[in-house]
């Protein structure tokens, strides 16, 4: 914790434990299966509450207020959409394409409602978060830019990604304070291009090594045996490279997005280490496989700890000055209306 000009860095803390969460997880999983999946909505609320309440900042903890009923409703809608989509394709591919187009048209609106649900139901020190993104902007972020990226052979994909993040973060609120998002498009391009370069570089390296191994033996037989060896070898190198690159990408993406976001006068910082992220991912994967999945709650706690504890707030002054947004509270006043239209479609 360092202090300068009335500013101090306040890190997020995560106080969850793997064993503690395991006990909650397994009992809720059993109930989910016994109720044929219906209880999963209650289990999800409990999971989110466990992780939110274990996340602390400056002595206060976060909380999740969503009701299982709203989550169940969201899941039923998602399930219905999926079923209708598959049934339509089964019936007639043309109708299926029509349904897909309708889904694409509805999706941005659904995602917007989902963000609103998630943020409105999150709180810190008794104050709710909120989301003020407009429907029009959600269509730009979730439909227009992705389509642009597609039609430019993904040359604009980093731009589209930045626009989605900007829509999410710039429109987030805490009480009457706004989040501001300043991650430049340039940062996204650098991250995408360097990941691509590392990926291509490792494939080329693998091919070169394979050719060297092959040229050891003479003649046509040497080339054939080299090729036979090269296939699995290149696959292995690709797999390792993919693992490394995806960890680098996620770590730097989190740092880029959160590290360029501020809440009112308080700047957020994020320093996830790619090396530690890679280690947590690989060890989580091995643990999950070896225990037939029983390690999953431990894995979730480890991942949350890494991601949350790498972040913090450069607090200017102190954190007690946030005030509830009267207007936001008024619009969400009937929590009933909020629950009627706000759905949670994320799993």
């Amino acid at each position: 914790m360092q202090e300068q000009f009335g500013q101090k860095n306040q890190s997020f803390e995560f106080t969850g434990s793997g064993w503690e969460y395991f006990k909650i997880w397994i009992v809720n999983l059993l109930l989910t299966i016994v109720t044929l999946g219906i209880y999963s909505a209650w289990a999800k609320v409990r999971r989110l509450q466990y992780f939110y309440r274990n996340t602390r900042l400056d002595g206060g903890s976060f909380d999740f207020h969503g009701t299982p009923q709203a989550i169940l409703k969201g899941r039923l809608i998602a399930f219905g959409l999926l079923l209708g989509y598959n049934a339509a394709f089964e019936y007639d591919p043309m109708i299926g394409l029509g349904v897909a187009a309708v889904l694409a048209l509805v999706m941005p609106w659904l995602l917007m409602r989902s963000l609103r649900f998630k943020l409105y139901n999150s709180s810190y020190r008794g104050l709710r978060f909120g989301f003020a993104g407009s429907t029009g902007d959600s269509y730009k972020a979730f439909l227009l830019y992705p389509l642009l990226a597609m039609f430019t052979l993904y040359l604009l994909a980093p731009l589209a990604h930045q626009r989605i993040k900007r829509y999410q973060f710039d429109n987030s609120r805490f009480g009457n304070a706004s989040f501001s998002f300043g991650a430049p498009v340039k940062g996204f391009y650098i991250l995408y291009l360097s990941s691509l370069a590392v990926m291509i570089g490792s494939v080329l390296l693998a091919v070169a090594l394979a050719m060297m191994m092959g040229s050891g033996a003479a003649g046509a037989a040497g080339i054939v045996s080299g090729l036979m060896l090269a296939g699995p070898f290149i696959m292995l190198v690709m797999l390792v490279a993919m693992l490394v690159v995806s960890s680098l990408f996620s770590a730097y993406m989190q740092n880029l997005v959160w590290g360029n976001t501020a809440l009112g006068p308080h700047r957020i910082f994020s320093h996830v280490s790619a090396r530690r992220l890679l280690w947590v991912r690989v060890s989580n994967f091995i643990g999950t496989v070896l225990t037939l999945g029983l390690f999953m709650p431990f894995a979730a706690v480890r991942m949350a700890r890494l991601q949350i504890e790498s972040m913090g707030l450069a607090v200017s002054g102190d954190l007690s000055g946030f005030v509830a947004d009267q207007q936001l509270n008024a619009t969400a006043a009937g929590e009933e209306t909020a629950e009627m239209f706000d759905v949670d479609i994320s799993f």
Binding site: I26, G60, L127
Partner: protein, 354 residues
């Protein structure tokens, strides 16, 4: 702080937030006169207990006391809060005990593992069988046609068997009395395949593909009938359909469970498990063949005889292809991973006198 539950002077430290600002105020909670009392610096509040919502215990996370008029308290002193609430006999959430005890967690784990194993062993085959028996014949026809189309394209060659011989076998097969009548249209088609050698297999629509190699291998037409009866057993019991249903359900469940880990990893076990199923199915088809043979006054041992020959022919071919592998491996060692149960075991079951 007193430890006596009846003592009204129990106090618990908490942080109070009014819901309008993020200002945190240290307070002491106590209960008096049916109300919850909050006392802090220049702050004294009281709420009727009926207007206070206490969050369920969730591990070691802070407990939240929310007041219906807005505002809440965050309590980190777990034991203290339990004592405070015990004073007024506040109930616990019904899951509280279950979610926080190791014995219950282990019990849930064992129940889950047993439930999964039982569902896999009994529920899945039963469900697939029930469902497959309800699949309309038109769908089976479609499945069979498309399978044959693919196989004709990549695996099978036209038969070199002359028409008279084919006719002779068709008639023998048509004359075979079978245990149960079905709505499927059974017929034999003739093909050859150097790769597959002496073999025959059934398609879901009742068509049995007979390879030239098998006709040549058999010394007695009744041996061929035994194989045909066995293959017909596969069709009658809807084995192909059941395999498709079972492996897709296993794949779905694994994909859901393993989630983001890897879909590749999810398919591998499904394939291995599927091999085990088809072993059970082979036995089922054997039973069907045995009944058919007996109903026609033929010895069920004939199936064993021809299976033995098919296996010998197969091993000889493998040896020819890979002479460096040396002597044929002990068949029983391959038993677990192979989809065909060891022939010796099948013969013993079908033909105990031999």
């Amino acid at each position: 702080m007193s430890t006596s539950p009846s003592d009204a002077s129990i106090q618990v430290a908490a942080a109070y937030y009014d819901g309008q600002t993020t200002a945190s105020r240290a307070v002491q909670l106590s209960i008096g006169g049916g109300d919850l009392l909050l006392r802090g610096d220049a702050l004294e509040l009281r709420w009727p207990l009926g207007e206070v919502h206490v969050s369920e215990r969730l591990g070691n996370t802070p407990r939240l006391l929310t007041f219906s008029g807005g505002g809440h308290c965050e309590v980190n002193d777990q034991a203290g809060l339990v004592q405070l609430l015990a004073q007024v006999g506040a109930g616990r959430h019904w899951l509280d005990g279950l979610q926080h005890s190791l014995p219950w967690a282990l019990t849930a784990m064992v129940v889950l593992l047993v439930a999964f194993a039982a569902a896999y062993k009994y529920l899945l085959p039963w469900g697939a069988e029930e469902l497959s028996m309800r699949v309309p014949a038109s769908m089976l026809q479609k499945m069979g046609d498309s399978t044959l189309e693919t196989m004709d394209e990549y695996l099978l060659k036209p038969s070199t068997l002359d028409a008279a011989r084919q006719q002779q076998l068709n008639e023998a097969y048509a004359a075979l009395k079978t245990p149960a009548d079905s709505q499927l249209h059974y017929k034999i088609i003739y093909r050859s395949s150097p790769e597959m050698g002496a073999n025959a297999f059934a398609l879901p629509n009742g068509t049995i593909v007979m390879l030239d190699g098998l006709v040549e291998l058999a010394q007695d037409d009744n041996e061929i009938l035994a194989v045909l009866a066995h293959e017909r057993g596969h069709v009658e019991r809807r084995h192909a359909m059941r395999m498709v249903l079972q492996s897709s359900v296993v794949g779905l469940v694994l994909a859901w469970y393993v989630g983001d880990v890897s879909s590749l990893l999810a398919t591998a076990p499904a394939i291995i498990m599927q091999a085990k199923y088809s072993r059970d199915m082979e036995r089922e088809a054997d039973v069907y063949a045995e009944q058919t043979m007996r109903a026609n006054g033929l010895s069920p041992c004939l199936l064993g005889t021809i299976l033995d020959k098919m296996e010998a022919a197969y091993l000889a071919k493998m040896k020819e292809k890979h002479p460096e592998a040396g002597a044929a491996k002990d068949n029983s060692a391959m038993d677990y991973l192979s989809s065909h149960p060891a022939t010796k075991e099948r013969m013993r079951l079908m033909c105990p006198d031999k």
